[in-house]
Symmetry: C2
Subunit: 319 residues, 2 copies
């Protein structure tokens, strides 16, 4: 099957081929990039929502609720769920995904779990790839669920049009959000488990932090929305605020601005991955550059000089 | 002042110059890399302990307690505390550091806070730089405190000889540690706030997970140590287990193995940073590659092709 034929089948609704393409892209199989390139003309159409927050904040439960709400509104929903990879298993732990089994038989929902990858900084790249495939498949809302601590996750949030930061009482007050750099990426704060007594304190803390920052982002006032994801309390408001933010982006032209940053980041990612691959190939060609590591251990070379030697290798031909 | 003279002054105990070098390395000031290179012969001498865990687990309190214990044992202690950067302030939030003021007047303690950096994946690089400077300054124990979620933090843990994973009841059971990939990097689990009723459940969960994995790492049985960091309960055992692990590494030769991986990672880091800089310089030289981003938005080019064009630019001379 040619890349173009595969791409056409995926756009035409072949879910099995789409799943295989996502796996092939992850594994860097031959032909996968070409198929993605052939799909690319069908991308750029979805509304992308990022949900980020600490482990235990209830991201999967909220994701589940949003899928249900959007399906009820007639929207087709794609989900990219990102779990930090276990170096031991090399894959994501799927525990939380089980809850989403109720959507498994709904052809209007597609859920893809991604593990974070080690060396190639592949989290953002894999996510962007999967989002492109989901867009080409015709999903109208795409939800990216990330752990939300660490630069990778912040990068992923930049792929979304609307970023929801989920927090929960009991992890310290809003200062944790500030520490994790989440204050600046949130278009909407959702305080889950809002029936707990400490919830008010979290809301007050977040309000204060947002006010310190000016409380506004390009004219959008970042709302703080309490909910209890497990029983659905406050979910209608969360759904409405997400719609409001998407509408705000579209009327102000910010939607196009975000689309543009997303594409720029995608390009930079690709360039970096290519260069990184080249570096790794050079290190591998030198048997892991063990002679340079030996010199570092003996402290006869410093890391900056060693790196320069490695990069100059193909010119100079020796260590 | 020449790089060599600066390096000599730092090795000789000039704390002010050492602090300035750390700042200069972070800001990529001219001469900083040369000074680090001149210091490099004095590195590789410290025992490095990583402490990692979720926000709110009590890492700073444990760090504080360990500093006190090691100082009482006559060891000089350096600390690298890493907070995810706020893109808004461009720096780390120093709230937790305030607790450590009691060590501020002790010349046997040096505490450096690092923000995570954006584009250059600089967390691991900055950390390694600071550790090298601290080693050259003669600190015998170096403690790296990280948030412990995300690949960056896992990378940083690989810099340490002994990695302590701190967890706390109330964040779900041990499965969160598994999800975050912490199970594989822990040489010692510390369960903080062990006076809470749910602590037993956490300990049982972790035990089960460790048993599933075999419970051993190169012949070391990973202990699970309960404590209450705020009042010091169980701290003596934590201190002893860290010493035990360091002794184990040295008698088995694993200390050298870890030193070697650390230096290899340091070398790769440097190579990647050079390459990433090159990628960014190429994008910048093309005015942000706006013509290529336009083509991506118009979907007349796909990202892989656009990246190839950008990488070929200096050869082909046009987009």
């Amino acid at each position: 099957m040619t890349p173009t034929a595969r791409a056409e089948a995926i756009v035409g609704g072949n879910v099995r081929l789409a799943s295989r393409l996502m796996r092939d892209l992850d594994d860097e199989m031959p032909g996968a990039d070409e198929t993605l390139a052939a799909l690319y003309g069908h991308t750029g159409r979805a509304e992308i929502i990022g949900i980020t927050g600490n482990p235990g904040a209830g991201k999967s439960t909220l994701t589940d609720r949003l899928i249900t709400a959007w399906r009820a509104a007639g929207l087709r929903v794609g989900v990219v769920a990102i779990d930090p990879s276990s170096p031991f298993t090399g894959g994501a732990i799927l525990g939380d995904r089980v809850r989403m089994q109720q959507h498994a038989t709904d052809s209007g929902v597609f859920i893809r779990s991604l593990a974070t990858r080690g060396l190639l900084g592949g989290l953002s790249r894999s996510t962007r790839d999967v989002v492109n495939v989901l867009e080409a498949m015709g999903f109208e809302r795409i939800l990216i669920e990330t752990v939300g601590v660490g630069q990778d996750e912040v990068d992923v949030a930049h792929t979304a049009h609307t970023t929801v930061v989920l927090t929960v009482p009991g992890l310290g007050d809003g200062v944790q959000a500030l520490k994790a750099g989440l204050l600046e990426i949130a278009d909407l704060f959702v305080v889950n488990k809002a029936d707990r007594p400490e919830a008010d304190q979290v809301i007050r803390g977040l309000k204060l932090l947002l006010e310190l920052e000016g409380g506004q982002r390009h004219g959008w006032t970042v709302p703080i929305s309490p909910c209890v994801a497990t029983d659905g309390t406050g979910l209608d408001t969360v759904v409405k605020l997400i719609d409001d933010h998407l509408a705000f982006l579209k009327t102000t032209g910010l939607f196009e601005t975000r689309q543009r940053s997303r594409r720029r980041a995608e390009l930079l990612d690709r360039v970096f991955v290519s260069l990184r691959r080249e570096a790794e190939a050079r290190v591998r060609a030198q048997g892991g550059a063990e002679a340079l590591v030996d010199a570092l251990l003996a402290r006869t070379l410093d890391p900056a000089t060693a790196a320069r030697r490695l990069l100059d290798l193909d010119v100079r031909g020796d260590v």
